[in-house]
Amino acid sequence: MQHVKPGWWSIDSPGLGQQYWDTGWFALFFTFIFMAFIVVNIKRAQGSKELFIRRIPGLNAIDEAVGRATEMGKPILMVPGLSDPVNAIAVQAINICAYVTKTAAKFSNPILMCAYSASMYTLAQEVIRDVYQQEGVPERFDPDSVRFISDRQFAFAAGVSGIIHREQTAAAFFLGEFYAESLIFAETANSIGAIQVASSTEATQTPFFIAACDYVLIGDEFYAASAYLTREPVLVGSLIGQDWSKVFAITCILCGAVSQSMFSCSHARGVEAAVQASSGNADAKKKNLADLKESETHSFVFSKLFKTNDPPEDLKIDRQPNAAAAPAAATNAPGGSN
């Protein structure tokens, strides 16, 4: 068992160094840099500088889909994913749905929104009501247009599929977190000829949407949607910040590849030297290879900056006993005195 004495705030302290940020600290710094890029670019965009965003066909198709639904006089279906509870993905999905609703409200087109969780239902209903009020047509908001279906995955899938068939929706938007039910939605909507715009933050579901839907937002295009549609400085700035972060990440990946290649070459040379030095003696070879392995644990590799080493399972840290909590624990223990 390894014993470590209490340490103070110093990276050299055995207590702190071994317990906490011995390795992997750069990953935390990395996240800070991303945050800084995003915040700096939000400030840049607020300075009224026109920033470029490339064309995203899936988002251009929103107006086309709403227009088609209006011509056909049929409702638009929106499913903001299976997030439970509401998270950043759900908020983004609802933001896009709000834009769709805004367009639909202008043409008095009916909408249907199916919520997977009760918290999503509550949030969506408030946002959709707000959109109708902003458009100056609060009387067109139908409270039943936002529905809580079920918080069980396949009950939700069955409910939404039923709605697609019964209401014969002309356009369907599937945006957010989707899992195995994604193809049930997409194929059902496809079977009735609805125009579909979809996006899943689950990379495993994106191929299903690509196979079955008309337009798909892949990966971070989903998050670019709000910025693309509204051109708000805050959103555009954070999108540019994400692009800066990607460039930084690519640089790190290249550094990692070079560093790993150099390490592999040095390792191969080390193994060769260890084998030659042992002159055919099996014990000497084993010892030389063990020494090489030990020396390599101290050599620098770029990936070590990102990988956190777990502390040893038997690491024992000397601490004062908790005198105040001990009697309470004894009292609460089964069979303890009352």
Binding site: Q19, A98, S119, F148, D151, A203, K246, R319
Partner: protein, 268 residues
């Protein structure tokens, strides 16, 4: 807290909500970044100095905020049930199309709630009885088992099974060689599919082995179907998926940051 928020002036509500979001989000951010004491049992030991004390405090605070979040979600569940009752109640009252299915939905929903709670109450009141043994079940336990295991789970499984047919129809449409991209995808998919067909893959690999051994060209070994499929999945597919995931991660971080700092104005 909710009561106070409802009594606050309209202009003050947004700043209050933002402060609450910032504080609760800040606790989780700090919890992630602050060094956490390892092998630490609060009931037995005192933390070593301020670093561990703050780490332990943050650990406690995250569970407090987690509980608050669960309580709020429970309130919202009531609103969700109200939505179901309103939509299906109206359909039954007005005898709209397919109103009978609404009756089925409401009856099953209430049955599940009643039997679920009743069963839970019986199990909690008789802890000495082994309810894992079906011989000890009464009418209520059987009712709950029939509704949950006998109906709901089976219907879930049936819905999941339907996906197989949808995959077939979607794959048929996607793999038609209508464009260069679709043709490349079709070819790649075929290679991966063949590599998973045991007999065909084994025959292909053996044939390549024989040719490679006979001609003394080791490079030919790379033409084994298992090697090709492995190269496709590891060299093409995995980096592409990782890239997509990385983009999604960055987007989520950016969105979370905007929400946390109060810069996100949802639905505008």
């Amino acid at each position: 807290m909710v009561f106070l928020l409802s009594k606050a002036p309209t202009q003050a509500r947004k700043p209050i909500v933002w402060i609450l979001t910032f504080v609760s989000g800040g606790v989780f951010v700090l919890f992630k970044y602050w060094p956490q004491p390892i092998n630490f049992d609060k009931a037995k030991n005192l933390p070593n100095g301020p670093i561990e004390s703050v780490g332990s405090l943050l650990n406690d605070l995250t569970s407090v905020f987690g509980t608050i979040s669960q309580v709020l979600t429970a309130f919202m569940l009531g609103l969700g049930i109200f939505s179901i009752l309103r939509i299906h109640g109206t359909r039954i009252a007005k005898q709209q199309k397919d109103w009978f299915f609404s009756v089925v939905l409401l009856v099953t929903m209430f049955s599940m709630v009643v039997f679920g709670y009743w069963d839970f109450h019986i199990r909690a009141a008789n802890r000495t009885i082994d309810y894992d043994n079906a011989a000890n079940w009464g009418f209520v336990n059987m009712g709950r088992d029939f509704l949950f295991e006998g109906l709901l789970q089976q219907m879930d499984a049936a819905m999941f099974s339907i996906i197989a047919f949808f995959i077939l129809s979607a794959a048929y449409r996607a793999f038609r060689a209508r464009s260069v991209e679709a043709t490349i995808m079709l070819g790649t998919a075929l290679l991966v599919i063949i590599s998973l067909m045991g007999a065909v893959a084994s025959g292909w690999d053996s044939a390549v082995d024989r040719i490679a051994t006979g001609s003394n060209h080791d490079l030919l070994v790379n033409l084994k179907i298992s090697e090709i499929a492995n190269w496709i999945t590891k060299t093409l597919q995995t980096p592409a998926i990782t890239g997509i995931k990385f983009g999604i991660g960055l987007g989520t971080l950016s969105m979370a940051l905007r929400i946390w700092l109060g810069l996100e104005r949802g639905g505008k």
